[in-house]
């Protein structure tokens, strides 16, 4: 060995001590596909220091997950990977599977997106955690010791009664508990780097808050560097130290999290920030839609990949792809845009109006200005007080029970699922009611009962003043003309073998419109939802998710309904696309005088679009009222917890917030708690005196008025500001 090589080795050893844990340089990943090579990651360079949290943000197809799977060496064999991935000075690219397996799980570990499928169904949770210890224990760890340690780890990540639960199989765990188990597995060997790929995306918002807390604990316990990948700018705002925004396989902006949120210097970042509806927005801000869709990664044209969607693009943008260059020489804030200096100037102007403060209001203002977003003018009828407007949908004490049966030949009832248990609300003309709650709260069942137009198990539903239990088949068909639905999954709800024109024509054919009228109406409808009339001949698979949802909306509008029922209409869409659809819904409501029943789990979207909101918990509405009252002064402990769990895409605000973390999971609706259904998870209940506690256990709280258009079902309701 020559002298120079020795010094090199020593240098490496020194570097391993306090240098970055992970150094990725010029990483390129491409896959073969039928339409050519897909360049999923292009020249990606980043570092993660020990104990640092790096957030990687991007939409689907931006290359964020692929780049981290490359670090783990878990990409499929046909992937071509070039560049350099150094972990504590050691080059990982080119290592064999056997060599990498000694690093994976011991020094680098990973948490995946979908906890429901991340655990092997046939082994117990405890065994799977113990396995992580045994693989790397090299015979020094006994099975008994590994089993004991796995119980400790489950306890650490907050699984109650860990010793017993370790013997359970994954299907006996809820989604949130499984994700905790996966995190327990990830921290089992005290790694130096944890990669979390969309760790909370599949979870409900209160569970997301719990899991983020667990990740914070994991970081404290292991002192590891963390890479957190997400599409949700809110999730990383409070957690990450540094941020990297990815677009089309490249980093387009990196920097300290505060700087990226407050002074974004790449129009894409700006657009993303502006496209997010904010749960903390006291006044309605316009949402920034980013037009178009991400480019195909098979054959990228020269120039900035964002240029076709960018409102600031000039001719120079199309000649050469801009490099990631320093925006500010002192802080390491870098952006890939030739016009970032002009963004700074616009922002300075916005600062003068908004006043310089720690929030990122100025950045949002800049986004609105740059992208030219506008608020939809409120319809004139909205000026009339809502009590004077007619009710289009009235639901009173709606009950829907499902029987749980046992046996095949002789079915016998062994229990009842109380899916919806006495829900009342009304939607007035030209009003949007948001129905929110976590999965399993009964919001979808409520919706299906309304759409079914049949006599419910209990209570009444009236649509446009007609009681549905009195309807015959003909009357039902007439009502369906006035009440239409938009579904969550825009792909699954369109027949793939029908051209879009036929999809839109179908409801009109059913209701006996003549051909001439239908042919005239199709282009009108496409135009109304912002699609070109000539698209009528194309098939659904030729459209992007956002466009498909627009087609779904066009179909719903074909019969000129008065009421639209929207079931999570934007939750399957990427953020930049979502804003466009929300704006469209806003516009249609104003132009056509529609009423919406908007079912969603995303409270930020609901705050943006709804006039009133109803919060459901275990088949009951626990708080209802106008948006500003419910969001601004929530009075039910559950609403407070729900709102406080929603991350706000503003690092300064987000870090300053006090979060209410609910314990445990939703109780089974087959066996709901007595009295107040929320009491088992209620933080307020725990602080009450024994006599007050007894009231919660024995008496179901009625819905009581808390002010003008604000009702709460809690014995001890008190207002608390949480956003």
């Amino acid at each position: 060995m020559s002298a120079s090589e020795i010094t090199l080795d020593e240098g490496l050893l020194d570097g391993a001590g306090d240098g970055p844990v992970l150094e990725v340089a010029d990483l390129d990943v491409s896959f073969p596909s039928e339409s050519g090579r897909v360049h999923a990651v292009r020249g990606l360079t980043y570092q993660v220091a020990r104990g640092e949290v790096l957030g990687i943000v991007g939409e689907s197809g931006s290359g964020k997950s692929v780049s981290s799977l490359a670090v783990m060496g878990l990409l499929p064999e046909q992937a071509r990977i070039t560049g350099s991935i150094r972990f504590q000075g050691q080059q990982l690219l080119g290592l064999s599977d056997v060599q990498l397996s000694k690093i994976r799980g011991r020094r680098i570990s990973m948490v995946f997106q979908d906890p429901l499928s991340a655990l092997t169904p046939v082994y117990t949770v405890g065994d799977q955690i113990a396995e992580a210890l045994l693989i790397h224990g090299r015979g020094k760890v006994s099975k008994h010791a590994a089993a004991n340690r796995s119980v400790e780890l489950l306890d650490l990540v907050g699984i109650p009664n860990a010793a017993a639960r370790a013997k359970a199989f994954p299907h006996e765990f809820s989604g949130g508990m499984r994700q905790r188990a996966v995190i327990a597995m990830a921290i089992a060997n005290d790694p130096d780097l944890i990669i979390a790929d969309e760790p909370t995306t599949a979870l409900d918002v209160t569970v997301q808050a719990q899991v983020l807390e667990v990740l914070k604990t994991a970081k404290e316990v292991t002192g590891a560097g963390i890479v957190i990948i997400t599409h949700d700018l809110g999730v990383v705002a409070g957690f990450a130290d540094r941020l990297m925004v990815m677009y089309a396989g490249k980093a387009v902006e990196t920097g300290h999290v505060n700087e990226v949120y407050q002074q974004p210097r790449m129009p894409y970042t700006l657009g993303l920030l502006g496209s997010l509806p904010r749960v903390d927005a006291a006044e309605k801000l316009p949402l920034v839609p980013i037009k178009g869709q991400p480019p195909s990664l098979t054959d990228l044209p020269p120039g900035c990949p964002f240029a076709p969607r960018c409102p600031m693009a000039v001719d120079d943008c199309l000649t050469e792809e801009p490099a990631l260059s320093e925006v500010d020489s002192t802080s390491g804030h870098r952006a890939a845009c030739i016009r970032s200096a002009e963004l700074a100037a616009t922002e300075a102007a916005a600062d003068e109006i908004e006043g310089v403060d720690a929030s990122n209001a100025a950045a949002i203002e800049t986004a609105v200005e740059v992208f030219g977003a506008e608020l939809v003018a409120e319809p004139k009828a909205a000026l009339r007080p809502r009590t004077e407007r007619p009710t289009v949908l009235g639901v009173e004490s709606l009950v829907k029970h499902f029987s749980v049966t046992k046996g095949v030949v002789l079915k016998r009832k062994v229990g009842t699922v109380h899916a919806v248990d006495g829900v009342s609300f009304e939607v007035r003309e030209q009003e949007t009611l948001g129905l929110v709650g976590e999965s399993g709260c009964g919001k979808t069942t409520t919706l299906m009962e309304i759409l079914g137009l049949t006599r419910p198990t209990g209570g009444n539903i009236s649509v446009l003043g007609k009681d549905v239990s009195t309807l015959d088949a003909k009357g039902r068909k007439a009502i369906r003309r006035d009440m239409q639905v938009v579904f969550q999954d825009p792909l699954a709800s369109l027949d793939p073998r029908m051209p879009v024109g036929d999809v839109i024509a179908e409801p009109m054919q059913v209701h006996g419109f003549d051909a001439a009228r239908i042919n005239k109406r199709i282009p009108e409808l496409l135009d109304l939802v912002g699609l070109r009339p000539e698209y009528a001949d194309r098939y659904p698979n030729e459209f992007s998710g956002g466009q498909r949802q627009r087609i779904g909306i066009a179909r719903a509008l074909a019969l000129e309904p008065k009421l639209l029922v929207l079931d999570e209409p934007v939750s399957a869409l990427d953020v930049s696309i979502q804003a466009g659809v929300i704006n469209l819904l806003d516009k249609l409501k104003a132009e056509l005088g529609l009423s919406y029943l908007f079912v969603a789990h995303d409270l930020s979207v609901v705050r943006h679009i709804a006039d009133r909101v109803a919060v459901m918990y275990l088949g009951k509405i626990i708080e209802i009222g106008d948006v500003d009252s419910v969001f601004g002064a929530p009075s039910h402990p559950y609403t407070q917890a729900l709102l406080s769990a929603i991350p706000i895409p503003d690092p300064v605000k987000e870090r300053a917030r006090e979060r209410i973390i609910l314990s445990g999971d939703l109780p089974s609706p087959a066996n709901p708690p007595s009295g107040c259904r929320f009491r088992t998870r209620c933080f307020l209940h725990a602080t009450l005196s024994d006599s007050d506690k007894a009231k919660c256990i024995e008496v179901e709280p009625p819905r009581e008025s808390q002010g003008e258009d604000h009702e709460v079902a809690c014995h001890f309701a008190r207002t608390k500001q949480v956003v």
Binding site: L74, K102, G105, S109, S117, T120, V122, I135, F169
Partner: protein, 326 residues
Amino acid sequence: MFGFLVRRLINYIVLCVVATFLSFTLSSISFDPLSLLRQHNPPPPAATIEAKRVELHLDQPIPVRFLTWGEGVLHGDFGETTKDHAITEELWRRVGVSLRLFLLGITIGIALGVLIGVASAVRQYKLFDYISTFFSYVILATPVLVLGPLVKQVAQAINNATGSEWLQFTGEYSGTLDADAGWLAAFDERLRFLIVPTVTIVLGQIAYYSRYQRSAMLDVLGSDFLRTAQAKGLTRRRAFFKHGLRTALIPMATLFAFGFGLLVVGGVFTETIFNWQGMGAWLVQGINDQDTNVTATVTLFVAVCVLLSGWLSDVLYALLDPRIRV
């Protein structure tokens, strides 16, 4: 779970009775056991035919005949053939012959089929996958009537090449072995006759199971939990076997059971081709002889095989998949 299996077993007994009754009824209606007697030259006197009719209970209605036969079965007596042989005497020998052939064939077939299926899935779209896919389809598309003689040809070629007569393909044993030749010679004798028909069965079984195992394994290969297992530090290979194969075997459990049932039904051909005196060949003989008792006995045997293997697959399923253990 235990209660569930007991209930299943009781269901299956009912199904066995139903299957046997249907087969008994159908053959009683269509068979005419007396036709042989009538064709005798010179024709026997009417009294003789009448006596035979009463002996075979043909004067009674079919359900009563079935009950009479069924009562005998409960006491271990399966009745007599039309030629006055006791069925019970021959039954156990034939069951032994059939089971020896089928159990060995299916065991080897499943083991190799699973292995080849897994290997094709792991090497998807590579040479091994293409070759195994090609041969699977060729074998699946070839009837046993063609496949059997083909295997015979290959065995003959091997015999010719080695200049021996070691591989045999007609019957179960030569019957020329000395009674005191010792167990090793007896084993060798049986093996010589067993190999060729077993290979025929095994080939078909491999082709069948490897296709299913390949797609079950491909489903699992793309799954998140396999990625988690690798992220934990298992090598790709160990993750495939410990987490992947274990999970991919679950859907196969059902298949194993009914595959065995199908094999026993299809055994008619295999046994006939290789001149094995098993249950399949007996069924053919029974139909030729217009013999209801033999047909019903073979049906009962097949039903028991199918349902018992179905029951075993339930047990296997529960062992493999904790999600259905309740």
